[in-house]
Symmetry: C2
Subunit: 715 residues, 2 copies
Amino acid sequence: MQMSPDTRSSPPAHTDLTRFLNPRGIAVVGASNDLSRIGGQPIRLLTEFGFTGKVYPVNPKYTEIKGLTCYPDIASLPKPCDVALIALSGAHVPGVIEECGKAGIPFAIVLSAGFGEVSDGKGLQEKLKAAINRSGVRIVGPNCLGVANLSIGMRAGFGGTLQMNTLKAGSIAMVTQSGGFGFGVVSTACYYGLGFNYVISTGNEDDLTMLDWVEHVLEQPEVDIVTVFMEGTTEGQRLLRIGERALQLGKPIVVWKVGDSAVGSKAVTSHTARLTAGPELFRAAFRRGGFVEVRDIDDLVDVCKAFLGRKIPRGNRVGVITMSGGAGVLLADRCTEAGLTLPKLTDATTAKLRETMVAYASPDNPVDATASGYNDNFAAFSKAVTFMLDDPNIDALIARCPRGKGAKPWAEGLVPILKNIDKPFLINWGTAPDDNADVLAYLEANGVPCILAPGRTAHALGALHEFGAKRRAHEARQSRATSRAIAKQALRFPVAAGALGEHHSKSLLRSYGIPAVEEKLFSPQEIDKLVQPPFAFPLVVKIESPDIPHKTEAGVVRLNITSADELKQAAHDVLVAAKKYKADARIDGILVQQMASGLEVIVGAVNDPHFGPVVTFGLGGIFTELLKDVTHRFAPFDVATAKEAMMEIKGAPLLTGYRGKPALDVDALADVLARVSLFIADHADRVAELDINPLFVRELGNGVLAADALVVLKV
Amino acid sequence: MQMSPDTRSSPPAHTDLTRFLNPRGIAVVGASNDLSRIGGQPIRLLTEFGFTGKVYPVNPKYTEIKGLTCYPDIASLPKPCDVALIALSGAHVPGVIEECGKAGIPFAIVLSAGFGEVSDGKGLQEKLKAAINRSGVRIVGPNCLGVANLSIGMRAGFGGTLQMNTLKAGSIAMVTQSGGFGFGVVSTACYYGLGFNYVISTGNEDDLTMLDWVEHVLEQPEVDIVTVFMEGTTEGQRLLRIGERALQLGKPIVVWKVGDSAVGSKAVTSHTARLTAGPELFRAAFRRGGFVEVRDIDDLVDVCKAFLGRKIPRGNRVGVITMSGGAGVLLADRCTEAGLTLPKLTDATTAKLRETMVAYASPDNPVDATASGYNDNFAAFSKAVTFMLDDPNIDALIARCPRGKGAKPWAEGLVPILKNIDKPFLINWGTAPDDNADVLAYLEANGVPCILAPGRTAHALGALHEFGAKRRAHEARQSRATSRAIAKQALRFPVAAGALGEHHSKSLLRSYGIPAVEEKLFSPQEIDKLVQPPFAFPLVVKIESPDIPHKTEAGVVRLNITSADELKQAAHDVLVAAKKYKADARIDGILVQQMASGLEVIVGAVNDPHFGPVVTFGLGGIFTELLKDVTHRFAPFDVATAKEAMMEIKGAPLLTGYRGKPALDVDALADVLARVSLFIADHADRVAELDINPLFVRELGNGVLAADALVVLKV
C-alpha cells in the first residue's frame, strides 16, 4: 500500500477505540464450520478461550456453527454487535463494510488479503477506502492477522500463535506491523513470564494505522507498557508527539524498528510498501521521546520486565553485589557500557559491609559477598543488599540471586523491604530459568525483575535510566517558559522557489541573529570601477547565483585576495568560470567577503517530509562527510539541548580545547544552533532546507561566523 | 596472586593431563561424613552421578563414609589413584601435596582457600609452590571449585551447580577463571541443550593455568569446542599460538573475556590480582586466532550451537527465507550488521521459487514464502529451502522454522537433504523454546542449530563466517613460503638504552627499506660555515637529541626554511630552545631535512610485555589521538595483512581517493607496515617501541616518506 498523507480524501472523525478492544459482540462474517479454515478459526478462538462477549457467525449456508446461531446476513444480527471480523474473499469486503455501517456496527477487522499489497489489488483498495469513508466504519487491516484482548479472552483473528494456550494476560500492549512476526514475539514473551492485554496486527493500514493504535493503547490506564514492531510510518511528527506524551504519562513505548539496512529496507518496501524516512530520524525520535528501542526478543522481554518493576532510577549510579567475583567484574563492564557508573560506596556503607560479610569478601562496588552465603542462609547477603540500597551514592542495585534451598526464604525476606524502597532493584538470574523457577516467579510477581543474563541485566537497567533522564528533560521542557526572546522577524521571501543565492541566504539568517562574515554584493561594473576594497584584505571573491549552489566545485570562488588588482582579476575569473560551468546561470553579482578562520563546523537543517524540522550538526569536511560524526535534533530546541547535541559528537573535544589548544566559543555556537532551529521551525511552510557550511567557530569570546550559507525554499 | 613469568623458579616438566581428567581413582582428602560440607559434597557428587572410577575418602577419624572404605592417610591408599581432591584447611595442603608425590599420585585438585588471594596468605602460597616443585605433583587451584568430566560422571568439586541433575554431557569443554560464574554458565548452557565434557575451575593457578587447560582440552579429539571464561593472562604470546592452533584444528575457542571497564578491571585485580594487558590486545589476539569472542550467555549458547552444526561457510553471502515479511526484514538488517551480505539469487533460483511458491510470495532474498505453508504442510517451503541451498550465490541459509503439527514432518524431510549439503543451515526459532520442543530437539540432534531470536541467529552465522575467514587466512599464512626477502641487516645498537635520536632512529628504519625524508646531521659549527644548503629549499631544521623525543612540544623544530640565512638563524634558535627546554640534554647535532608533504599517517610498534610485538596504524593527529581510529596487528605480518589492517580504519577512504582526490600509494604504505612489523619482531630482544609520526603518504606511484621517527630501546 502506498500510504501518503493525502490518500484519504476525508478521513473519518477520530473515534474512541475502546469498544473495538472490548466488544460486547463480534460477528464472524464468512464463518465456516471447518474450524481449521480462516473463517472457522475465529469461531474456535472466540469460544475456547473465555471470551466474555457474544459471538455471531454470519453465513447464509448454515443455521448453526459449533452450537452458535449462524445468521444469514449482517442486517439480521442481534445488537449490540461492536465488531465485524471479516474472513471473506477480498472482493466482498467493501460491500460488507457498507452493510456494517447500515447495521450500526462501528468497527471491522479485515483478515482478507488481495488489496494494496498485490499488484492488481489497487482498484479493490480504492473501493474499500470509499466504503470506509461512506459508512464511517473504522477498520483494522485488510491483510492482517487480527486483534486480541487477552484480558477478556478475545482472540479475534487467525493463525497458529493465537491458538497457543500459553498466551498470558497482562498489562503490556503490542501493536505490530508484521502480524506473523509480532504475534510470535508475543508468544515468546509470554513464555518468559510477560503478559499482554491488547495485541493488534495492523495489516495494510487502509484506515487505522499503527500510530492510531499506539496512541489509543498508550492512553489506557490498564496498559503499563506499549510494545511496537515497526516497519515505518510517514507520520514522523505524530511519532514525536506520541513520544512526548509517553514521557508525560511515564509509560515506555518499547519499539522494535526494522528495515535499517539497504536490503532490509528494500524488503520492507516489497512487503508493505511504506514511504519512510531514513533510520537516523527514527532513531533521533526514539531518543527524544518516551521510546525504548530494542533489537531482539530478549531485550524486549528484559526491558519490559525492568519497567514492570515500576521504579525509575534518579541517576546513573549503580551498585552491584554478587556471590562470585567474576560475575561482578562482568556486570561492572556491562553497566559501564550501558551508560551507568559504579560509584564508590559511602564510608558508612563500606564499614557496615565489612562488618557484616566474611573477611575474604570485597566491600568495594562491585561487592563480592562470596559464596559464603550458602553457610548462613544468605543472612549477611540480605543485609548487604539493604545496606547498598540505603547508600545515598547509589540510584539502583543489581544483585545476583542466591540459588538452592535458601533462595526462597531469602526472597521472601527481601520483598517486604523492597516495597519501601523507591530505587530499582534488578536480579541477574545466575542459572537457567528452570532452576528455582518458583523463586523467579515469586520475585517477578512481587515486582522484582529477574533478568536471565548479566549483560542483559545491565542493558535493562540502562534502559530504565535513559527513560528517567528523558522524562526529566521532558519535564524541564514543559516547565520552562519557552524562551521566545528572539523576535520572529518578518521574512520577505522572493516569489521564486528553490535555492537562494549565498548573500540572500545569509541576510535571512542574519535576521535571526546568526552572525555571518562581512560581505558586499557588487555588479561586475562596480568591481571594475572599485578604488578602495570594501573591507580590509585578505578578501574572498565569489559568484552570487541561485543556480550555482556548490560554488567550490564550480570553480567560482577565489580565496586570499590581497590587492585591488587581484580582486578585479578574481571577479573576472569567477564570472568566466560561472559561464563555463552553467551558461544560463542567473548571476546576481560578485560577492566580496572578508576572509575568516576558525574551526570549521557545519550546521544544517531540513524540513523532513515525515518528521518535520530537524537540525544537523557536525565538524566540517571529512568529519561529517566521511566519518559521519554528526548529530541530529528536532527543531525548535533551546541552547541547553544545542550544547548537549554538540557534545555528543566524537570530535567534541576540538570545541572545548583539545591538547592545550584554546577552548572555542561553544556558547556562541550553541546560540546559533538554537537560532537555526527556530528559523527552520518558524518557516517550515516555506523553507525546505538550509546549510551553513562552513561556520567558523573562534576562540572563547570571539563568537562564530557563517562563511557560506544556502537556503532552499520549497518548490 | 601476583603471577608473572618468573615466579616459578623451576617449572615442572609438561605433563599429559589426560589422566587428570579421566582418573581411575580419586582420593578425597579431608573427607567428611556430613555430605553437605566441603569435604562431604565430593563424596556425594562422585557416588551419585555415575562416576566410573574409584573413590577413596581419606580421614583418620572414620573407617567408612557412605559405604566407602575411608583411609587414614595417603600412604595407605590403594592404586591406581590418579587424583587427590583436597578439602583440608589451607595450612595442611603443602604437606599433603608432598605426600601425594611420595605415594605416586600425579594430580591434585585443591579446593582450599587462604593462599595468594588473601593478604596474609602469601607465605602459604610460597610453601605450596615449593611443595609442587619438590613433589612433581601437578595441581589445579587452590581456591577453585573443582574439575568435572561429565562424560564419565566425574564431578570432583563442590558447590550448588555441580549438584544439578540437569548438567548434560557433550563435546564442549569449559575452562573458567571464575568458578562460581563459569559453572553457572555451564548449567544455563545445558538448559539450552548444550552438553559438556570437561569443566575446569582454575582457581588461583599456582600451578596449572587457564592456558595450560585450554591447550590441553583443545587437543582432545572428543572436544569440539573450547569455551573459556577469562579474566586475563600474562602469557599473551602463548594465547596467540593457541589461537593459531585452534585455526589449524578447525575448533573454535569461544572466549568470554571480562574486566574491560576501568571499574571491572579494578575488580579483577582485587579478585585474583592478575597482571593483564589492555583489552585491545586481547581483542586483537581473539581477532587473529581461532577465537570467537562472546559477551553474554546467550551468544555463548548460540555460537556453540552454530559450530556444532559442523559446517563453515565459504563466504559471507547469506540467503534468508521466512514465512513473515517482517522477520525477513529484521534478519536482513541483522545479517548486514554481522558482516554478512544478502546477494541476489541466480535467475534460475528465482524462477524456481516463483514457480513453487504462491503468487503473493516474494522470491527475492530475503525470500518471503508467506504463511501459505500452513495450507500445504510446508511442501513449497521445503522446496524453496532446497533451491536456495543449491544456489551458487549463497554460502549459508537462515530459515524461520514452521510451527504446529506440520513442523515435525517438515523437519524430518529436510534433515536427510541437509546431510549432503555442506553449507551452514541455521534455523531462527520463531516462538518460545517450549513450543514444538520435540522438533527443536530433533533438529539440533541432527546438526541443525535452532537459535532462539533473529538477531542472535544472524550473529551466530556471522561468527561462523568470521571463523572461516580466519581459517582461510591462517592456511594462507602457513602455505606461503614466508617471504623473508628483506635481508635482516645487522643492527649495531649503541650501548645506551632508552630513546634514540631521530636521525639514528631513521637510519635503523632505512636499513629495513623504510623510506624517510632526505636529511643530514650537522654540528652547530658546520651550519655556521654552510655555503650551500644540503638539499633544495624549503627545508626543516630540528635538534637531534635522544633526550628530547617530543620535539614540537619542546619548540626545537623550524619548518619551511627558504634561505641560507633563515637556516642559520633556525639552527641557532633551536639550540637555544633545546637548552631552555632541558639544560642537560645531550645534543647530537642539528638535523636538516627536506620538507615533505602528503597525507599524515602514524605507524607505531611496541613489544608488549605480554603479547610481544604489535604494530599500530592510524591517520595522523586527531584521527589517532582523539578519534582513536587506529588498528592493531601482531608482528610479523605480510603485505596482505597490512592492507587489510589499513582498510579497517574509518578514515581509509582518505587513502584510496576520497571525493575525487587522487588515490594515494597504499601499496607503498602496506609495504612499510610489513617492514615495520619485521623490524619490531626481528629485534624484540632490544627494541621496546618505535614510532613513525608522521609518515607522509603521497599520490599513487610516489611512495611514502617517514618525516620523523623514534626508536626506543629496552632499558
